[in-house]
């Protein structure tokens, strides 16, 4: 069962739709066309909380806002153009991008590939393969790398701090 709960800000400036087709649920919250240069208080927003089976594939994109994933066990793609991403207690393969926001991964097992534009990328108490990048910020990794995984850490303006646990031997 998938439960979608949404609260609105300036709902009259939004088109909101939830559709269901087989096992796929699609939520769309689009700003009405022609609205530009709205001040922060006048911008429409849909704050969406979804409860879903853990093995649901998630594909999420928001123009302004934070994305938080908790306890999911499948995989997914997460993109925000203005906000942070947090992935907590997840398993599987996740990828995504954030702009002007941090990416925080905690207690993850699996494969992640995330890039922040102007933000810190952090993966803690996690195990798997990590490809982490940021254009302006630090990268922190505290966890275990699985053998054979693809790992990469790239920052244009910041530090990379890695605390690798486990008995595997790696070369940087």
């Amino acid at each position: 069962m998938i439960v979608v709960q949404t609260s609105f800000q300036k709902a009259d400036l939004l088109t909101y739709e939830v559709t269901h087709d087989g096992d796929t649920v699609t939520v769309s919250a689009k700003q009405l066309p022609g609205l530009r240069n709205l001040s922060k208080v006048n911008r429409p927003a849909a704050n969406i909380t979804i409860t879903a089976p853990g093995d649901t594939f998630v594909d999420i994109a928001t123009g302004r806002g934070d994305i938080a994933i908790e306890g999911m066990r499948a995989s997914g793609k997460l993109v925000t153009s203005g906000g942070s991403i947090s992935l907590d207690d997840a398993k599987g393969a996740f990828e995504g991008d954030s702009a002007d926001g941090d990416i925080n991964i905690f207690n993850m097992a699996g494969r992640v590939s995330f890039e922040a534009m102007n933000g810190t990328v952090s993966a803690k108490q996690s195990k798997g393969a990590f490809e982490l990048a940021t254009s302006d910020g630090h990268i922190y990794l505290q966890g275990e790398l699985t053998p054979g995984g693809r790992n990469g850490f790239l920052t244009s303006n910041g530090n990379v701090v890695a605390e690798i646990a486990g008995s595997q031997v790696f070369e940087f």
């Binding site: 998938i2 439960v3 709960q5 796929t24 969406i48 979804i50 928001t62 302004r64 934070d66 306890g71």
Partner: protein, 79 residues
């Protein structure tokens, strides 16, 4: 001459006071009208919550496309 000037000054002051009262009444009216419009506007829903529930199978997929707002996805309900 001085008496005429005093009378003129008093009349002017009365007009200024009257204009001030009129201005304040106008502003108060405008404020009330703004509140009334905001209260009656049906689509400006602050904090209203919409809930939708769907049954899905084990290989479910969730897609969210939003122009603005926070999105939380929590593992909870079984398929």
């Amino acid at each position: 001459m001085q008496r005429v000037w005093t009378k003129t000054w008093e009349a002017g002051a009365e007009r200024i006071i009257a204009a001030g009262i009129s201005c304040r009444a106008y502003m108060a009216g405008l404020l009330l009208l703004t509140f009334a419009i905001a209260a009656c506007a049906p689509n400006v829903v602050q904090g209203a919550v919409q809930e939708d529930t769907f049954s899905v199978g084990r290989s479910s997929k969730l897609t969210v496309l939003s122009d603005g707002g926070n999105i939380d996805v929590i593992a909870g309900h079984p398929a």
